[in-house]
């Protein structure tokens, strides 16, 4: 395995959880809801996925468990923000906090246990091609799922009626309501979808990335996913680019160190965050792009005149 091949494979692994979580959050935000609890949903997905896989011995069960955990967490958020109309920002932060604490509690007795690893697919013949083989055809199923999901979301959002409804609800919820669409219902569904994706991302961490459970193993990835959605101006294709860009910068920092270059490691470690800020500046600074693409009602609670 050559160095370049190894780097590319590592980048794919690093970028996949970001992509999964960001795509889910993109849908949530398109419907007009800002869910800052991605980190909390992700870590709950990680712990539940790990525990389920460990107990049953099956990584597939683990993935399912992570998915369900993410949905469950997101529904708490949905109930508070949509039915009880609490502040979305504060509730999202509370969700993150609860997720981090609860996951630590659940995972206590499972720390330090080796996990069940999700096996990579080995597509016969194709994955045997040197260099491109393992990269394109030798990944585990969640990598392919993340890419398929991105494409599916793009298709649904821009080419189906469902997508139109979601965008309408996010763009002008009063008009959407007047047209007879169930704004709250659509938002519940989008929040749950976002939760499912974050849960999957978490399960990826504890079943593929490092097959074990460690407290706070999401390490801030949920926040990066949120930034990616803004960076991508709510367009799925751009989320893909953003996720892989971040993954690349992240891995290159370690790579440069291993080459023996004398740049302080802290500087290299801070590059991904600085790059994210730079990306945010560039995208947000272009007011036209932002105005055109930001869901206009994002963060505003919907209260039909009762």
């Amino acid at each position: 395995m050559s160095a370049v091949e190894a780097v590319i494979l590592t980048i794919i692994t690093a970028s996949t959880p970001l992509l999964l979580a960001a795509v889910g959050e993109l849908v949530t935000e398109r419907s007009g809801v800002l869910n800052l609890g991605v980190e909390g949903m992700m870590i709950m997905g990680a712990v539940c996925g790990f525990v389920a896989a460990h107990v049953t011995g099956s990584a597939a069960v683990g993935i399912l468990a992570g998915l369900i955990a993410g949905i469950a967490m997101s529904l708490i958020f949905a109930f508070l923000t949509q039915t009880l109309m609490t502040s979305q920002v504060a509730t999202g932060l509370a969700l993150t906090l609860l997720g981090l604490g609860l996951s630590g509690l659940i995972g206590e007795s499972f720390t330090g246990q080796p996990g069940v690893k999700l096996a990579a697919l080995t597509i016969p013949v194709l994955s045997g091609i040197p260099f491109l083989g393992p990269i394109l055809f030798g990944q585990d199923i969640l990598v392919y799922l993340s890419l398929a999901l991105t494409a599916a979301v793009a298709y649904v959002l821009f080419r189906t009626r469902t997508g139109l409804i979601i965008s309408a609800v996010g763009g002008n919820h009063h008009s959407a309501h007047a047209l007879g669409y169930n704004v709250i219902g659509v938002r519940y569904a989008c929040i749950a979808f976002g939760g499912a994706c974050s849960g999957l991302a978490g399960a990826y961490l504890s079943l593929v990335y490092t097959p074990q459970w460690i407290e706070n193993m999401s390490a801030g990835r949920g926040w990066v996913a949120l930034a990616l959605v803004v960076f991508a101006t709510w367009i799925p294709k751009r989320v893909l680019i953003g996720a892989y860009l971040f993954g690349t910068v992240w891995i290159m920092g370690l790579y440069v160190q291993a080459l023996g270059v004398a740049i302080p490691s802290q500087l290299l470690s801070s590059l991904p965050y600085l790059v994210t800020i730079a990306a945010l500046i560039i995208i947000s600074g272009n007011r036209t792009i932002t105005k055109v693409n930001t869901p206009a009602c994002i963060g505003q609670p919907f209260a039909p005149e009762r």
Binding site: M1, S2, A3, V4, E5, A6, V7, L9, T10, T13, A14, E108, T111, G112, P114, K117, L205, Y209, T210, P211, Q212, I214, E215, M217, A219, W250, I251, L254, Y255, Q257, A258, L259, G260, V261, A262, P264, S265, Q266, S269
Partner: protein
């Protein structure tokens, strides 16, 4: 006024504590910087605590606090144990140094032992283990087992203890293969499985077929097992995580030391010392030599025996620094002082030591 009340309260507490000792069991407290489930540094300290309970259970009871952040919170956690009438407290991370000393001043009857530190006082001793001895053995095994002649080192922070380990490793390797290469990645954390896994993959991609680490998680071992390379466990036996990958592991075995010090407090013979023991005393143990041919494990066992008996010292001259200058002349051994302050690489390490 508060001063007076405070002093009375503390005075009462100490008096009560003093009289309590005579009648009750000795309470031994442990402050861990990480979770006991880390399967690394804190886990091994806790294993030492459990061994202490098993051995002296009729005279000793133990209590611990885990995940204590180095900083202002540490002082409170240590004070809490002292107030709970602990008679002997082990603080198991470097960052607890100043908090330990501060609390020790307020509780002069309580004995404190600080791991990996260098400041002592009348009731504060320090203790450490000569991990570098294990690293030297690891280096020799690595050079024998490596086909590419390159090893990867996942390091935490450029402090003397870590640098010491890196140097010992390469010195051991150089006795087998003078051209052995070592690549170092700094993850800037003692415990970050995601980053350690990434670092492991990057190092393997750059040609390393042996991995070793001075970080606390088992992530690198798992990656090694997955990618089919070999690795060394750190702080605890990591064979569960790398059944095909682990060659051996350096095990921190604190049990003998903890039992010894608890006995000293019970006998009234406790004095503040700076203890730095290694293979000889059993503070450093090597996990079973596996996944290697019989010849290599024989060599490893022999090296271990030689270091144990004192016949061989990993840092005996001639040793050259990275810049070519002679650090230790032939026939001489590097003393404890320079070891504790080590901030230079031995010749043969790739890259510059972060300053």
């Amino acid at each position: 006024m508060r001063n007076i009340i405070g002093s009375i309260v503390i005075g009462l507490a100490i008096t009560i504590a003093g009289t309590a000792h005579a009648a009750d069991k000795l309470k031994v407290g442990f402050i861990y910087v990480g979770p006991i489930g880390d399967h690394g540094w804190s886990y091994q300290h806790d294993q030492g605590r459990l061994a202490l309970e098993k051995e002296l259970g009729d005279k000793v009871e133990t209590v611990f606090v885990e995940k204590v952040a180095e900083g202002p919170d540490a002082e409170r956690a240590i004070t809490r144990l002292a107030r709970q009438k602990a008679g002997l407290i082990f603080t198991t991370s470097f960052g607890f140094m100043n908090p330990t000393l501060k609390v020790a001043k307020k509780f002069p009857k309580v004995k404190f032992e600080h791991a990996t530190g260098f400041k002592r006082s009348k009731n504060v001793g320090t203790y450490n283990a000569r991990f570098y001895e294990g690293r030297y053995i690891n280096g020799k095994i690595a050079a024998k087992m490596s086909k590419s002649g390159v090893a990867g080192y996942i390091a935490s922070f450029p402090i003397p203890e870590v640098v010491m380990g890196i140097n010992a490793f390469i010195l051991g390797a150089q006795t087998v293969n003078p051209d052995f290469k070592l690549k170092v990645v700094w993850v800037n954390s003692w415990f970050d499985p995601g980053k350690e896994a990434d670092a492991a993959k990057v190092l393997i991609g750059q040609g390393a077929d042996i991995l070793t680490q001075h970080t606390d998680s088992t992530a690198a071992m798992q990656i090694a097992d997955e990618k089919g390379v070999h690795a060394f466990g750190q702080a605890s036996d990591m064979i569960k995580f790398g059944p095909k990958a682990q060659l051996t592991a350096i095990i921190n075995n604190w049990a003998p030391y903890y039992i010894e010090r608890a006995k000293a407090v019970l006998n009234g013979t406790w004095k503040s010392v700076g203890s730095w023991k290694g293979l000889t005393a059993g503070t450093v143990k090597m996990a079973a030599y596996t996944n290697m041919p019989a010849g290599v494990s024989k060599m490893a066992a022999e090296t271990e025996a030689k270091i144990s008996s004192g016949e061989l010292h990993p840092f005996q001259g001639p040793i050259y620094k990275q810049d070519g200058s002679l650090a230790v002349p032939a026939g001489k051994t590097l003393g404890d002082g320079p070891l504790l302050g080590m901030n230079w690489y031995v010749k043969g390490v790739d890259g510059k030591l972060p300053k």
